[in-house]
Amino acid sequence: MQTSPLPSRHGNPFATCWTRPGALAFRFRSGESAERMVARLAAQNWWGEVVGPHGSGKSTLLATLAPRISAAGLSATSIALRNHEGHLPWQVLRRALSLPHPVVIVDGYEQLSQFSRAALRWRCRRSAAGLLVTSHAATGLPLLAQLQPDLLLVEQLVAELTQCRPAAISPTDVAASHACRGSNVRELFFDLYDRHEVACRAIRTRTESVA
């Protein structure tokens, strides 16, 4: 019979269920907040873009802002583009634009072709709709936030994740992972997940050999 711990999501603090957008709260820089960002977006007529490299927290920021945009009385519709889709789900967009005070939120705007981007902007303008997007590089929409996570932020996130679920990694692992993955926090969490698994198995092997 097995003597290892019972398999559970609590066994690894870097599992997707703890790190996916929405599960982990977005950490704003000092002086910044979700409320301020939404106010700035409103001042930009609900048009804006969040710019940052892969895994820098753009989707997490959108997941934080979307309910606040809805709370401000607007109809926010989120569209997540994956796998380098070159076009929008137009039916979803049509439905979104038919709602009162619409705001269309597109995660992965850079995946759209130039034509699709132009068509999206045109449709949003024609419907007096807001448009909030994420992109890896500036696309010409009013800038709402530029994300570039540093080691301090990574350490804060790791501390939050490991507060209730102890990790078998050290601060050295976190620094080494950050040195490899840079500001790609998603990849960094994958790396820390692996380091934690390796460390747990090593501890288990040692314990079993002693026993």
């Binding site: 398999p7 559970s8 599992a15 997707t16 198995r201 092997t205």
Partner: protein
């Protein structure tokens, strides 16, 4: 609600069961600050956890509701028993884990719902070993 006023317990302390075996346990709860529980849901389910997409399936579900004809009093232990299925077996993999648990969700008259889980193992699949390069 804190751990003082809710409890979910499996009768087998090891938490290890064979496929097709009968698992039993009990739960009890007391509303914090005197407030009563409107409903309780007990599920026996498996889910995957790891680095990618997650999956889950509920094997057993029961809902208890407080109504005037049948008041819901969870201050005394409420027993449950479930025959476990042949699969999926619990697995402690590197990339993905298959996890089984009993989940108790409590809905008080006021305030947010509360969740308590008791993990258990189905079967005896060994954990994934370390690979050579590690």
């Amino acid at each position: 609600m804190n751990s003082d006023n809710k409890l979910l317990k499996l009768e087998r302390s090891s938490g290890v069961y064979e496929p097709g075996e009968r698992m039993s346990g009990y739960f009890l709860a007391e509303g914090s600050q005197g407030q009563s529980i409107r409903a309780a849901e007990l599920s026996v389910l498996w889910y995957t956890s790891g680095q990618g997409e997650e999956d889950f399936e509920i094997h057993h579900f029961e809902r208890l509701v407080d109504d005037p004809g049948r008041p819901l009093d969870l201050r005394t232990p409420r027993r449950f028993a479930v025959v476990l299925p042949p699969s999926p077996l619990s697995y402690e993999g590197r990339i993905v884990k298959v996890c089984w648990c009993v989940r108790l969700r409590l809905f008080p008259r006021q305030g947010p719902e509360m969740v308590e889980e008791a993990a258990f193992r189905l079967g005896d699949v060994p954990a994934a070993p370390m690979t050579v390069e590690e």
